[in-house]
């Protein structure tokens, strides 16, 4: 099985440790991922802001880069959601039947990390060790666009040393929403502030989620408020072991 890592533009530029964690984790599980250097972005920022023409070359680059792989794994529910559910919209806009066919070929092979682990590799215990109290925020696109369900929870519950605390109103959006966070920054911050309050109510040391974009927003509020809670991507927890702690 040829597996490609789609690291995402945000992780590439701002959170390389999340990408490294996916590589470490999958290698431990016997999967040697490739990193196609041509990759850039899934085009979601353009699509969700309304710039469909601008998304066309980005989606074209995406399908060119990931053609020929059996699976494309990404540590982002949102980017996986875009590839699976929105690339076809962009292809339709382009009027290019070739692009549409390529998207139809690539889209179903894109997996969010927890989906790949549970559905493709069939594991929930990945042999991780993480001796911290953690609360989990199920990001909206993972939850509602992809329907990852309880996969991330099952993975976390199998991590040795980890205490999982229930997040109140967990399924409410954190308020990131891509360019929503700047176009409607006041509302975004109001939503995020409530999310931070719920996180703090749990008493957890660590807030975990499957999307660094949401964690950038919530984490940015948490550090500004000196909340003392650390945002950590799911991949980094699953990659941690006693021999090689996070």
């Amino acid at each position: 099985m040829r597996v490609a890592l789609m690291v995402t533009c945000i992780n590439d530029a701002l959170y390389p440790d999340t990408g490294k964690a996916v590589v470490t984790l999958l290698r431990r599980l016997g999967v040697e991922v490739e990193f196609p250097a041509g990759q850039t972005c899934c085009a979601q920022p353009m699509v969700n802001t309304g710039y469909l023409d601008e998304a066309v070359p980005v989606v074209r680059n995406f399908v060119d880069t990931f053609a020929g792989y059996d699976a494309v794994v990404t540590p982002s529910g949102s980017c996986a959601g875009c590839a699976r559910h929105q690339h076809s919209i962009v292809a339709r806009r382009s009027g290019d039947a070739g692009l549409a066919a390529a998207v139809e070929e690539t889209s179903p092979k894109v997996y969010e990390l927890s989906e790949f682990l549970v559905d493709v590799l069939g594991v929930t215990d990945v042999g991780a060790y993480y001796p911290h109290t953690v609360t989990y925020h199920p990001t909206c696109h993972s939850l509602r666009m992809l329907g990852v369900g309880d996969r991330p929870r099952r993975l976390l519950e199998s991590v040795r040393g980890l205490t999982l605390l229930e997040l109140p109103a967990a399924d409410q959006c954190c308020g990131f929403g891509g360019t929503f966070a700047v176009k409607n920054s006041d509302t975004s911050v109001a939503m995020g502030t409530d999310k931070v309050r719920h996180v703090q109510d749990t008493g957890a040391e660590v807030l975990v989620a499957g999307d660094n974009s949401c964690l950038t927003h919530i984490g940015g509020l948490m550090t500004r408020q000196q909340s003392g809670v650390r945002p950590v991507h799911l991949a980094e927890i699953l990659a941690a072991t006693e021999a090689d702690p996070a």
């Binding site: 590439d12 850039t40 920022p45 699509v47 710039y51 509302t187 940015g220």
Partner: protein
């Protein structure tokens, strides 16, 4: 007496900013939406225990869709049935035509007042203001609409338009304003809900008994039987539908349901999704005129007002399935914090964010264009919608329409930034990606959004090297 209108409201971000600063509003909204959300979920679970909520949703969506795919035929059938039942059918292309029809019928009966059933469509067309201009007072008789009208306020929720008011505010409105509109509130009025309701009942009863003309909308219009349906909680609607001699109903053309059987899933979905009840207290149906019983002159004004524009929109047409339950408002994290006024329309919340642009057309004005962006695309609305309107997908499509409507003019900074990104992101080598992308991103952010981010949020520290650089340097961690 009329309330205000939404004309000239600011774009969503500005209106939201003001609403977010209102602590009382935030508290009222969080409490009210939280309560209704919990009630709805309990009933969905109850349905799932015996059958399937999802199947019920599919059935409801199917009924509405079957009407929309062949709308003209069903509307003609509706007109035939209504006419055969003794009703007079009028067609209105827009708000002005509908208002003129209603005013002319009312004036024909020489009245200076009418009583109204709670109706979204008559608010959409500003009927009360149009009638007032003709010297006719239109009295709202739904309790919450009465509160809004007396308070010279605007509705902020589809189902509970005074959701932004608490009981002490309502007491003050009744004490100050009821006398000017008819029977005054008792001097010893308290803010007990039962006491407030009794004051409203006494105030409204006079109007019900006096009015010669009643005005309503309709939740559904059954084509094959020529039946209009109004669903309500208080019974005040039924007073308006049965006591006056003349009844005028303004009905959006998307309200048509082909057959009586089609009401079955819809009448099960609506109360559960709106008030969180198995069944609403009052469901009134009337098929034209029944001799000797109820209004003996029945008019139905079938209104387009942008609905055929929405119907022509391949992605957005599903919005016409909406049964105005407001489940999407109650689950929306944006609505819960800003309330309805920020949307600048009688249709607030997620459904308003798609319906207004669909009815008015993208590029109509800055306020309307701001609505598709008034969402984090979290998808809670789609999950809750009883007729499966995929609101996030429609929002995204409308955003593209807004951007397209402004292509060709002087580009905004945002458009320039996205064009630049399109070039950069179409080829990793062209830009020698990695770090340079970060720098481009930060530069763009600084130009058009950084302060909006950093005013309340820190940015993460930049890492020493990108993932790409690490992979290249270490061969993916192998050396």
């Amino acid at each position: 007496m009329s309330g205000g209108t939404f004309v000239g409201m600011p774009a969503f971000p500005k209106a939201a900013h003001e609403a977010l600063g209102n602590a009382q509003l935030r508290h009222n909204l969080a409490h009210a939406t939280g309560t209704i959300r919990a009630k709805r979920l309990r009933l969905v679970d109850e349905v799932n225990a015996n059958s399937s909520w999802e199947e019920l949703r599919l059935a409801g969506a199917g009924v509405k869709e079957s009407a929309l795919v062949d709308l003209a035929t069903h509307l003609e059938r509706l007109e035939e049935s209504l006419t055969a039942n003794g009703a007079t059918v009028h067609w209105a292309r827009d708000a002005a035509e509908a208002n003129a029809i209603v005013a002319s019928i009312a004036k024909g009966h020489g009245v200076d007042e009418v009583v109204k059933v709670k109706s979204m469509v008559t608010q959409e067309i500003n009927l009360n203001e149009a009638l007032e201009a003709e010297g006719i007072a239109a009295w709202e008789t739904d309790l919450a609409e009465l509160i809004v009208q007396l308070g010279e306020d605007l509705p902020s929720h589809i189902l509970v338009p005074a959701i932004h008011r608490n009981r002490s505010e309502i007491r003050e409105i009744f004490l100050a304003k009821m006398a000017g509109a008819g029977r005054p509130a008792p001097e010893d009025l308290t803010d007990e809900p039962a006491v407030l309701a009794a004051a409203a009942r006494a105030h409204l009863r006079e109007k019900f008994l006096r009015a010669k003309v009643g005005i309503s909308g309709a939740n559904f219009a059954v084509a094959d039987t020529g039946t209009l349906v109004v669903v309500e909680s208080e019974g005040n609607g039924r007073m308006c539908l049965t006591l006056p001699e003349v009844l005028i109903s303004v009905v959006g053309i998307e309200k048509v349901v082909p057959t009586w059987e089609g009401l079955d899933p819809l009448l099960r979905l609506l109360p559960r999704s709106s008030t969180g009840e198995r069944m609403n207290p009052y469901t009134s149906t009337w098929s034209g005129i029944t001799p000797g019983d109820g209004p003996q002159e029945v008019h139905v004004v079938l209104l387009d007002n942008g609905r055929t524009n929405a119907l022509a929109d391949e992605v957005g047409r599903q919005a016409l399935r909406c049964i105005r339950c407001s489940a999407c408002l109650n689950v929306c994290p944006v609505y819960e914090r800003t309330g309805g006024h920020a949307y600048g329309s009688v249709y607030p919340g997620p459904i308003g964010a798609i319906l207004n642009p669909l009815l008015k057309g993208p590029g109509a004005d800055e306020q309307t264009d701001s609505l598709p962006y008034a969402s984090s695309l979290c998808g809670a609305c789609f999950e809750a919608c009883p007729v499966r309107i995929d609101i996030p997908s429609v929002l995204v499509d409308l955003r593209a329409q807004v951007v397209d409507a402004h292509r060709g003019g002087v580009p905004k900074l945002e458009a320039v930034a996205f064009k630049a990104s399109a070039v950069a992101l179409s080829d990793a080598r062209k830009l020698a990606f990695g770090e340079r992308f970060t720098r481009l991103g930060l530069r763009v952010a600084r130009r058009f959004g950084a302060s909006k981010w950093t005013s309340s949020r820190d940015l993460p520290p930049a890492p020493p090297e990108s993932f790409r650089a690490w992979w290249k340097r270490t061969d993916g961690g192998r050396r």
